[in-house]
């Protein structure tokens, strides 16, 4: 048998809570997780008691045993965590869930992510203690301590190597905010962004302005996966998983910024494996959700997935190319992490499913091949491609 996930598993339900600004959720994190899972099951038209597995990433705190107890599940068969922080594992968790279903380890797996920063503390802050030891002792005392500061160093070098101008980063932000204006779920709905507003916004860390940086939010997102055979029997037109892969290149995780190939989103070895499994190429992709921790990560990801040459960024990254429905590569059609919600990117996977269903608020016509790039630079990174029935 061919060793591939292509077409063997489908997403039958997606669910999200209301998305809140960080610290503003009225519910604690575990309840948010439950609400998103219940919503996904309702969307799938199944009882939550049919769920027999959970997969998550980024050290999610909502423990599968406790979830199974809360939901009254009789037979928990799969409980999985993709290693790595941030959003690097979003599509990887979907791949893990799909692998469990394809191999008969589980029948119905929920992939989820829940975050309540008001309850557990914010991202983007440096450690406040007297001493520091280990890898970060070589960075933090120099004021290099946040994700933005860690990744700006890579993006600066990439922009230097390839003559990328600030306008390319700006276009990515403008596209996300453009899409959010049509998406009532988006935290930035009703708050459009202009070139002038971007240009005059404060620097966070060069080359990132305020609007190059993701939001910080509270909420939860979940999706329900079953085998392709079972998906054909339920609810929505199935959204099939064509491929999901994760990983990173040679010594990507070398400490103190020592990855030999440094100025990269870390997808150079990963993206070819995705296309190989999915049986498609970049020209087949109808719509893209590309994780924006920072716009520079989107830029390098899109290059490394073969949509644009590294030296062609200034021409490719213009707003009109990136917006639905007519853009060459409609990207982050929900508003994404910059303008919809920062749910460590699982919202991007849900938006990709919506595009295949024809249910996005920024729908691309005939979106049969719908791709997600998760957590650039946050190794191990991951990515996946969903497809409609027509792609099988």
């Amino acid at each position: 048998m061919e060793r591939s996930l292509r077409g063997r598993v489908a997403v039958i339900g997606v669910g999200e809570t209301t998305y809140y600004k960080h610290g503003q959720s009225p519910d604690p994190e575990f309840k948010l997780a439950l609400k998103a899972i219940l919503a996904a099951c309702e969307d799938a038209g199944i009882s939550p008691k049919q769920v027999d597995g959970f997969a998550s990433y980024s050290n999610d705190r909502s423990d599968p045993s406790r979830l199974a107890a809360a939901l009254g599940i009789d037979d928990l068969r799969f409980a999985n965590m993709q290693w790595g922080g941030g959003g690097g594992g979003g599509s990887g968790a979907i791949g893990n869930a799909a692998a469990a279903i394809a191999t008969g380890m589980a029948e119905c797996v929920v992939v989820f992510r829940a975050l309540a920063q008001g309850q557990f503390g914010r991202f983007g802050q440096g450690p406040q203690r007297n001493v520091i030891a280990g890898d970060t002792a070589h960075t933090v005392p120099y004021g290099l301590m946040s994700a933005g500061q860690t990744f700006a160093m890579k993006v600066q070098r990439f922009m230097h190597d390839h003559g990328v101008e600030q306008s390319a980063l700006r276009a990515i932000s403008l596209a996300s905010y453009h899409h959010a204006q049509n998406n009532p779920r988006a935290v930035m709905y009703g708050r459009p962004l202009t070139e002038e507003k971007y240009d005059s916004s404060r620097w966070i860390v060069e080359p990132f302005h305020l609007f190059d940086c993701c939001l910080e939010n509270d909420g939860a997102a979940a999706m329900v996966l079953v085998s392709a055979e079972r998906a054909a029997e339920v609810g929505h037109a199935p959204c099939y998983l064509l491929g999901a892969v994760s990983g990173s290149h040679h010594r990507a995780g070398a400490s103190v910024h020592n990855a030999p190939d440094y100025a990269t989103s870390a997808f150079k070895t990963v993206a070819p494996r995705l296309y190989d499994m999915a049986g498609v190429g970049p020209n087949d992709v109808d719509v893209l959700q590309s994780y924006e921790n920072f716009t520079g990560g989107v830029l390098m990801s899109i290059v490394e997935h073969g949509f644009c040459e590294p030296d062609g960024c200034n021409e490719f990254f213009v707003k009109d190319n990136l917006i639905a429905p007519e853009g060459q590569l409609p990207t982050n059609t929900s508003g994404g992490n910059l303008a919809e919600c920062y749910m460590h990117g699982l919202g991007l996977n849900i938006e990709a499913v919506r595009q295949v269903r024809g249910a996005s608020t920024n729908q691309v016509a005939d979106a049969d091949v719908s791709m997600v790039i998760s957590g650039p630079m946050v190794t191990p990174v991951s990515c996946c491609i969903f497809g409609s029935e027509a792609t099988l």
Partner: protein, 149 residues
């Protein structure tokens, strides 16, 4: 004098001792990186074995405290209370071309709004804090084009 306002976490050797020789050397104004005694390959950050030949016979070896700027960033938004009134500051990633392109992180001394050129040669400036609790040393950088040290 310190480049950044006081109050950031102070570096101490890892409890497992992995980078202790680096910090001990820095306190003496000496820059040391890790080199494999078996294959001669340099590496940084420190590891327990050589990533190339997998030998565990590793040494910390003094290098000339000169390198070139591989990348840099100018930070504006403070993410630590100690930096609230700091204003912009420069962080450089310094590469050692003669040592298998190992890199280390430090601050670039001088005007924080100066233009920074990737590839420019820099030399180390050791910022000692012998009276702090705990005592520690930071390794900063200045442009070779700046006269004197």
């Amino acid at each position: 004098m310190s480049y950044l306002n006081p109050g950031l976490p102070k570096p101490v050797p890892a409890p497992d001792g992995l980078d202790a020789p680096f910090w001990a050397a820095a306190a003496e104004g000496v820059l040391k990186l890790q080199r494999c005694n078996a294959c001669g390959r340099w590496q940084w950050g420190p590891e327990w074995i050589c990533h190339h030949c997998l030998s565990d016979d590793l040494a910390f070896v003094e290098v000339e405290p000169r390198g070139r700027i591989y990348s840099y960033e100018r930070v504006w938004h403070p993410v630590h209370p100690a930096l609230k009134d700091q204003g912009p500051y420069l962080i450089v990633l310094v590469e050692f071309p003669d040592h298998d392109n190992a890199r280390i992180v430090g601050n670039l001394l001088g005007d924080p709004e100066q233009e920074v050129t990737i590839g420019a040669p820099v030399r180390a400036v050791f910022e000692h804090h012998p009276d702090d609790e705990p005592a520690h040393t930071l390794v900063h950088w200045e442009m070779e084009s700046v006269r004197g040290a």
